[in-house]
């Protein structure tokens, strides 16, 4: 049982969030948001396969300015989750365990996710 006098410090404005903590919480947040996006993705997949009209409709949705912006956000969710996930897998195998390496790998994952999302957004047709 926890002691009733143990210190509790949960002031979100004062908690310092080092990069590894940021990557970690964002990995969880992006995972949950990706789950929430599944119905939308399945709807798009279903429309795009239903017939030429549905395909045109799905293309129009992701070409629409708002749709395109949402696509960029979604690609970031996916790419951050991807790179932060690779970082966790490598950590499971024992790589980059000391503080400096953990920080630099966190920055790498954070930046790689942003760069990959932008690249995909530009490169995807």
């Amino acid at each position: 049982m926890a002691s009733p006098v143990r210190p509790v410090f949960l002031d979100l404005r004062k908690i310092h969030l080092p990069p590894n903590a940021l990557v970690s919480i964002l990995h969880r947040v992006t995972g949950v948001l990706l789950i929430l996006s599944i119905p939308l993705v399945l709807w798009l997949l279903g429309r795009s396969l239903a017939g030429p009209e549905g395909f045109a409709q799905a293309v129009a949705v992701i070409r629409h300015p708002l749709g395109s912006l949402l696509l960029l956000g979604w690609l970031w969710l996916l790419m951050h989750h991807f790179f932060a996930g690779i970082r966790f897998l490598l950590a499971d195998l024992g790589f980059a365990e000391d503080r400096e390496q953990a920080r630099s790998s966190a920055w790498t994952a954070l930046i790689a996710g942003i760069v990959a999302a932008l690249l995909l957004w530009v490169l995807l047709p």
Binding site: R28, V32, L34, G46, S48, L49, D92, L120
Partner: protein, 112 residues
């Protein structure tokens, strides 16, 4: 519950992430290099037996991966047993629905 908890869940989370990651990587590369021009090309791509099976497996494993992750979140933040149980049941139902929906889309595409 012991089927998908503890060390087995932890391991499944990681194994499924490898397949999902490789699938996403290949799918993105394919869509960049050879984007399907129209519905016929897109439909032919998805219903190619190998791609169809790989996609169905991707959806199944990704839902499993996501279920384990969301289950962890619920167990972390759900403060009481009734809250946890209600959330887990609702999420499990949503995941089953999404799984059947995805399967329906793939089967319908294969039949048309």
């Amino acid at each position: 519950m012991s089927l998908l908890s503890g060390q087995r869940a932890w391991l499944l989370q990681r194994v499924t992430s490898l397949y999902a990651g490789l699938f996403v990587l290949s799918a993105m590369l394919w869509l960049i290099v050879r984007p399907p021009a129209d519905h016929a090309a897109w439909h032919a791509l998805i219903t190619h037996p190998m791609i169809w099976a790989a996609t169905a497996l991707f959806i199944l494993l990704t839902l499993l991966h996501a279920w384990i992750g969301l289950r962890d979140v619920i167990l972390d933040y759900g403060q009481s047993v009734p809250v946890r149980l209600t959330a887990l049941i609702l999420v499990a139902a949503a995941f089953l629905l999404m799984g059947f929906w995805a399967l329906w889309i793939l089967i319908e595409a294969a039949l048309t």
